[in-house]
């Protein structure tokens, strides 16, 4: 496999960005096994292959999506690639470098400009679970958030029943900060939500298990 630098150079996609943009990664963001890049029109089938599934939507606010809804989502995401203002979100397609398969998506939201807060999220095809892809891709977004945007704290949320997602947050070195019990109704049942977070100081601390 090509080195990360060679891969990034070969796949480099310069996208014109508005002048208001304060932070935008150089795409693709290349990790050991993955490439994170903006969504494009050709991704609809790949997105449909996981977002249409019951087991994927179970813990998401969305219901399983139709092909048409996936096409709309991909159109919207193609533009979510840079940060101009508070609340802006980047959503990136995650591709496996060895077979160029789109296996999921990761996101980073600029939650607070003045308080330097961010939130990450990830959704992966069940076929691709269990290989550490979600943590590898999310780690690249944490790196961007802390090292480029200068964020102070980044958090992530998941349903308390979603053990797979919780383990990703733990693997990223995040700490459990909240477990809200029966705090809302979600798809006809009581919702329990976990929040994990990591501080700048913890991100830059000498590597332990990360």
């Amino acid at each position: 496999m090509a080195s990360a630098e060679e891969y990034a150079l070969a796949m480099n996609t310069q996208v014109p960005l508005p002048a208001t943009v304060q932070f935008a990664p150089d795409y693709p963001i290349v990790t050991e096994r993955l490439a994170l890049r903006p969504f494009s029109r050709g991704d609809v089938d790949a997105v449909y292959s996981y977002r249409s599934r019951e087991d994927v939507s179970e813990y998401l606010f969305d219901q399983p999506m139709t092909h048409e809804e996936c096409a709309e989502a991909v159109r919207a995401r193609a533009g979510q690639i840079a940060f101009s203002n508070e609340g802006d979100k980047i959503v990136l397609a995650v591709e496996r470098r060895d077979d160029a398969r789109l296996i999921g998506e990761v996101s980073l939201i600029w939650r607070s400009v003045s308080d330097l807060q961010g939130e990450i999220g990830y959704i992966f095809h069940p076929d691709a679970h269990g290989h550490g892809y979600a943590s590898e891709a999310s780690r690249a977004l944490l790196a961007f958030g802390f090292e480029v945007m200068g964020l102070h704290r980044v958090y992530a949320r998941c349903d308390a029943l979603n053990g797979g997602s919780e383990r990703v947050m733990q693997r990223l070195g995040m700490r459990k900060e909240a477990h809200f019990r029966e705090h809302a109704q979600f798809k006809g049942r009581w919702d329990e939500e976990l929040i994990y977070a990591i501080l700048e100081g913890e991100w830059f601390a000498p590597a332990t298990s990360r």
Partner: protein, 196 residues
């Protein structure tokens, strides 16, 4: 016609604010050590008066988003010592948030606990809420102690989630479910006075 709510406990009458309570409320509301933990900042008398006027209008919960604020009045001498607010945050999930403030001179006598406990009874018994939560600053140990003493569980501890006057802030969330709440026997009567 409206109905105003009054709760009575051993030592307290909890009632909606009246115009004549203004000076008593201002005397604690604008103190820095009280202000530090209030959501509604009042830097001077005029802002504190605005806050009081808002609380005075918080007389009932008829729809989500509304707040009920009850003044904490000592039966013995009629002293207005503080207030407790209940905000109805979510109808489908029956959620409510409790807030309180008590004048420093009246602390350490259990008045606040007595008042908050009565409002929790009201929230669970009368309004049939499913869950009550409370949010405090990480360094507000007195509030955290009180909420724990009421049987509330620490559900969240956000570390350095916001800047407050140049310092990183911590935030605690406590909560209790209806089935976990031990009904107190302290409310002697739940009176509704008809007001023209």
């Amino acid at each position: 016609m409206t109905t105003d709510l009054t709760l009575k406990t051993d030592r307290l009458t909890l009632r909606t604010f009246e115009r004549s309570d203004l000076d008593d409320v201002l005397s604690y509301y604008s103190l820095p050590e009280v202000q530090r933990y209030l959501d509604w900042k009042a830097r001077d008398k005029s802002e504190a008066t605005t806050a009081f006027e808002a609380m005075r209008r918080q007389k009932r919960l008829t729809r989500p988003g509304e707040i009920l604020t009850l003044g904490m009045v000592r039966k013995l001498d009629g002293a207005v010592m503080g207030h407790v607010s209940l905000r109805w945050t979510d109808a489908t999930a029956g959620q409510g948030e409790i807030r309180f403030a008590v004048a420093p001179v009246y602390r350490r006598h259990g008045y606040c606990r007595e008042a908050v406990s009565a409002v929790m009874d009201l929230a669970f018994n009368e309004y049939r809420l499913h869950r009550i939560f409370a949010v405090t600053a990480g360094d507000n140990e007195a509030s955290a102690r009180l909420l724990r003493a009421l049987g509330m569980r620490l559900e969240a501890h956000y570390r350095e989630h916001a800047l407050f006057q140049g310092e990183w802030d911590e935030e605690l969330h406590f909560a209790i479910l209806s089935r976990e709440w031990k009904r107190s026997e302290k409310i002697h009567e739940l009176a509704r006075h008809k007001v023209a």
